[in-house]
Amino acid sequence: MTNAGPAPALDVGALYRRYYPMVARRVRQFVRAGEVEEVTHDVFLRVMERAHQFRAESSPVTWLYRMTTNHCLNLIRDMKTRRSLIEQFGPTAWPATHREDPEIRVFVHDAWRSLDPELANIGIYFYLDGMTQAEIGTLLGYSERTITSRINALEDALRRLDQRR
């Protein structure tokens, strides 16, 4: 066996071994059971591509969480057989938080697909993960004020879509 040479800035192999269960758990919220392993591997490929973006002082957990969410959302948006998020996730995959909210119903049925990807991403964190604006802001690297403004825009868009139904 050969030596590894200069240590890479981010040891993706170590990330894989340590955080595989965590990433797979997040992936499981987006895809069917039989697809989890393949998609989780795809996430780690994406991690390698983006390894240069990781800063050593940052949290691998939040970085991987964000990257996994991005990847899965892109993946299901591009799926040929389009399903609603509720069909995709199953009714119990997400916390009960605000599940009965009409805006959430619009969001999880189709709106997420037609929204700007960034808004859809924020919608996942806000409606389905139940995160606060401050939390989303920190996760995505924006101010809380920016996130609040985006969520207002998201709510307007969802109301318009709901009225058109």
Binding site: F44, V61, P117
Partner: protein
């Protein structure tokens, strides 16, 4: 695939409290608790002490993670995380043909190690690190546990038992006097090391080998690494190192070794 914009900053955890709008722990908050970042989020610890629902969810997630067997990475992931890919200076590696040829001769029906002949610590080859190896030999009539220096005969079968102090990627490799490595476990073309979790109980591997007719030394190695690897990753230099009287594992690896002497029938 539609790209989702990725903001430049990588998140710090400055204001990640980990609680959702209802005041329960978020999925991300649970992950941070499970993966050792709880110290940064004291609010979560405080909440868990009061919220049975979140405490139960955390316990369930912890159990799920602990029981999950991490699959070997796909070829693409492996290519990026294995030493073979990280160091492109592998001049010559042992190809899959050698491994396949050896494995084809070696795959035999496994036998059950004699339960009344369980190995004592004296029969266990200490890895000096995270892996210990025990070798069981069956001569067609009964099985026995052997130590380094034991004599075996052509046609004897060998089965292997591992004890791991730490989870890692493991392979059992054999080598005769020709110093060509062959896969004892797993037995396939250019096998990949298999991830095994740490365990207090020795694991008897599912396959066995049968010794061929050539007399001489047979060296059995259990090679444990903290990263995935293939038999083909064993470079000649590494093989020579294993073959040496005092074998030297590569960085991030440890090995246990049993040297057998194959004699005529």
């Amino acid at each position: 695939m539609t790209p989702t914009p990725t903001p430049t900053p990588t998140p710090s955890n400055a204001s990640l409290e980990g609680l959702d709008r209802d005041g329960h722990v978020t999925g991300l908050g649970f992950d941070r608790l499970l993966y050792g970042e709880a110290g940064e989020v004291a609010s979560l610890e405080g909440h868990l002490a009061k919220c049975a629902r979140c405490a139960a969810t955390l316990a369930s997630m912890r159990a799920d993670d602990a029981s999950l067997v991490i699959p070997l990475p796909t070829a693409a992931v492996r290519a990026a995380v294995s030493p073979r890919a990280r160091a492109r200076r592998v001049a010559v590696t042992f190809g899959g043909m050698v491994a396949l040829a050896a494995a084809a001769l070696l795959v035999v029906r496994p036998f059950e190690p004699d339960a009344s002949n369980l190995p004592s610590d004296g029969f266990r080859a200490r890895g000096g690190g995270f892996v210990d190896l025990t070798v069981h030999v069956h001569d067609g009539k009964s099985s026995r546990t052997v130590q380094s220096g034991a004599k075996v005969k052509p046609g004897d079968k060998a089965r292997f038992e591992l004890l791991l102090a730490r989870g890692g990627f493991v392979m059992v490799v054999g080598m005769d006097d020709s110093a060509d490595p062959y896969a004892c476990w797993p037995q396939e073309e250019d096998p990949a090391a298999v991830y095994l979790p740490a365990s207090d109980v020795p694991v008897v591997l599912p396959t066995a080998i049968e010794f061929d007719e050539s007399a001489g030394a047979e060296h059995i190695f259990a090679l444990w690494c903290e990263y995935p690897f293939h038999l083909g990753d064993l470079s000649p230099a590494m093989t020579a190192s294993l073959f040496a009287l005092i074998a030297t594992p590569p960085p991030g690896c440890s090995l246990a070794r049993v040297d057998l002497q194959k004699v005529g029938p």
